[in-house]
Symmetry: C2
Subunit: 429 residues, 2 copies
């Protein structure tokens, strides 16, 4: 008998975990991703602020999975689906047949109906995004050092971050550390520590998904790093000159040359294909509603995991688009397929929260345990560090990341602050 | 009395060493570079083949020089010169006044009158170059795995390197290690170890600047890694399909999708400005002929160092465009300026060769000492490793590079093999 063919779309947390759970099992697995590496997205903000290098948070998919002969890795872009013939169609004009499909295609940032804001305020989802943010941040200090007009200098030294969720909080904290800890002394005309970092959140507190105690702790820690936190504040407009904000009745204009977007997620466009071809229902963020075993209604052979799936917790809230959710869903989908092949059925998927955390500075973080206990300070930072290093894929990365962090912890001298001019080739002078 | 203003153009080996030698001395130093980092160019081929990450071989100029308050770092592109008014003109429309100028602007690869070859055969001078080569190399294996036609597969698995100097030799060796040591087992349809690496050199032996014994050793070591060495062979044509070669009377066409250029250097265009504005004389590679104290004839206030200077050794040969030459020249120029200010004169510049080396594989290198003794094998590799780690700027980089290398030495698993799609933004599936 032919072995069942499992095709996984996406090598992020969900897809990679599904592949691992199927490694060595009696199935033929094909993992398709448009990139040749797995990316540890929760640390992207560290690349964006020069604390880590790209290679520290990425590992080649082929290297991770080479030990399982039943897993094939393919570089390719899934663009369409034929559910009757059970074929996944690639942009490279190939059809990949499947018996089971696991869709783990991730998400992209989302500008709430303002796509024109994207060039002005880049988000942070891919390594290319992080390199672009890094380029803008470090170029801003160079420009501030170059210009003479105090107003222009101020606009180069003002950084606005839209979105007070974990990404926005961590990015603001990292910028605070950069301007207060790392850069002072490196410039001759400007004082990097005078840079103004503004974190804008529409809801009434930072980290709206966390407990209020965690939000309060995060706000205090950010204030200590010089970050201005504006809650209940909406972004009305973003341009190359800055932002227009609305706080209650009041409108404010902030002149800022660097605006960063950490506000919204939207599932990958492939979910719309599922809507058209399989009658899938999507939530307002483009995520697919799934059955309690994470499969698509009327298509028990298609599983949706990670940021592309809309799964409700027992309390009724949708599960957040974070790595632990994707990992548990990916593992569950793999087990569900193996159970199905044995003629068995698993218990419905249930997310077990390991808690939530956000790092704010060099020895400051906020941790909320699975049971809702909130703590902060150095201990929280240590917990955060250990959890993240442990989770980094591949032993080499862990070691290098640890050395780099230990070093920058003692010296305040992040070594990855390169301004790479990527669209054009660099020419010598 | 106003302190003398020394302006240095270029933060490579020559310019950085000059700046360091002037740190804390009674002069005002401005170091101008279009990049915000110093690049350890001799290890670029390691980035191009996935053995090291960009940040491992680059360090921010501001961080390196921040300890000397008399040194200012400026991001900028020098484009012109007014030698009468002693002004350096930047692309950013600024004029920087100087009392002494040290030109250390480096070089770019050179296609011997065939600029149309550049898109087909990228060279290896900047980090962007290395990322582009890395992208092409790793994409070639992905394409070979994807296509079904054996001829097309062969063309994707054939790598041609033009130029058998140190860069070409090291690049060929690194590709040999990659295909024979690292990648086997990661693909399902192709055997990476069947990839053909062809190193083309016009002269009659590899490493023409080294002793014949070193050339012979390098050739043997490369052959062991499966590299085909074609000497006395000229490149007639490069296209997206491959190369046309001439060996004696014979013409050969090699179908190859990846052609890399390691053949020629040309000094930065700023030397032409010196020719126009100061009557400087250039050699055929665009390098400036200098006096015995490295200053420009008729312009004792302008010094030229590194790849932009044409300096003859006592034997009459021009000094090669390598890091040790640039370092010694940069240091000499700084001392010459300080001596001039004291009303003294230095002895003429004299290069003290520390020897030459090229690494070929995981424990294989060729070393030629300053006295001309040639040795190879593991000991040479160890010498090469220690010299390069010692020379890497900044302690953090040394440690990380060492960890990464030690790790990849034991595991054959270089961790920086990311295919970054830099011109366009990556989108999720």
């Amino acid at each position: 008998m032919e072995r069942a063919r499992v095709v996984i779309v996406g090598g992020g947390f969900g897809g990679l975990e599904a592949a691992r759970a199927l490694g060595g099992k009696p199935v033929e697995v094909t993992l398709i991703d448009r990139r040749n590496f797995h990316l540890f997205q929760p640390l992207l903000y560290q690349v964006a602020t020069g604390g880590l290098s790209e290679a520290d948070i990425a590992a080649p998919l082929r290297a991770i999975l080479k030990g399982w002969p039943n897993i094939t890795v393919r570089l390719g872009t899934a663009v369409d689906l034929n559910p009757e013939a059970r074929l996944l169609l690639l942009e490279e004009r190939e059809a990949v047949p499947y018996d089971f499909l696991i869709l783990a295609a991730g998400s992209r940032h989302h500008y709430f109906g303002h796509p024109e804001w994207e060039p002005e305020a880049p988000g942070l989802k891919t390594l290319e995004d992080a390199l672009e943010v890094r380029r803008r941040v470090f170029l801003a200090f160079e420009e501030a050092e170059r210009v003479r007009d105090p107003q222009e200098q101020g606009a180069w030294l003002r950084f606005v971050i839209a979105g007070g969720g974990p990404t926005g909080v961590e990015l603001a904290g990292a910028l605070g550390e950069l301007t207060r800890g790392t850069l002072p002394g490196e410039f001759r005309r400007i004082r990097p520590e005078s840079a103004e970092i503004v974190l804008v959140e529409a809801q009434e507190r930072l980290l709206p998904g966390y407990r209020p105690a965690a939000s309060a702790r995060a706000t205090r820690a950010l204030n200590r790093l010089g970050v201005r936190v504006l809650t209940k504040t909406r972004v009305l407009e973003i341009s190359s000159q800055g932002v227009r904000l609305q706080q209650g009745e009041k409108e404010t204009i902030l002149a800022a040359r660097t605006v960063l977007w950490a506000a919204g997620n939207r599932a990958a466009p492939l979910t719309q294909t599922l809507q058209e071809r399989c009658g899938a229902t999507l939530d307002r963020n483009g995520r697919v509603f799934v059955r309690e075993d994470l499969s698509l209604p009327h298509h028990p052979e298609i599983f949706i995991v990670g940021d592309t799936a809309s799964v409700r917790s027992p309390s009724g809230d949708p599960l957040p688009a974070i790595a632990p959710v994707a990992v548990q869903e990916g593992r569950y989908a793999a087990r569900a397929i193996l159970a199905r092949m044995r003629g068995e059925r698993l218990q419905p998927f249930r997310y077990r929260s390991p808690g939530a955390m956000a790092v704010i500075g060099r020895h400051e973080a906020v941790v909320q345990t699975g049971r809702g206990v909130v703590f902060g300070g150095f201990l929280a930072w240590l917990v955060w560090l250990l959890v993240h290093i442990r989770a980094l894929v591949g032993f080499e990365n862990k070691l290098v990341v640890f050395v780099r962090w230990a070093w920058s912890y003692f010296t305040r001298n992040p070594g990855s602050r390169l301004i790479l001019d990527l669209p054009e080739k660099g020419e010598p002078q």
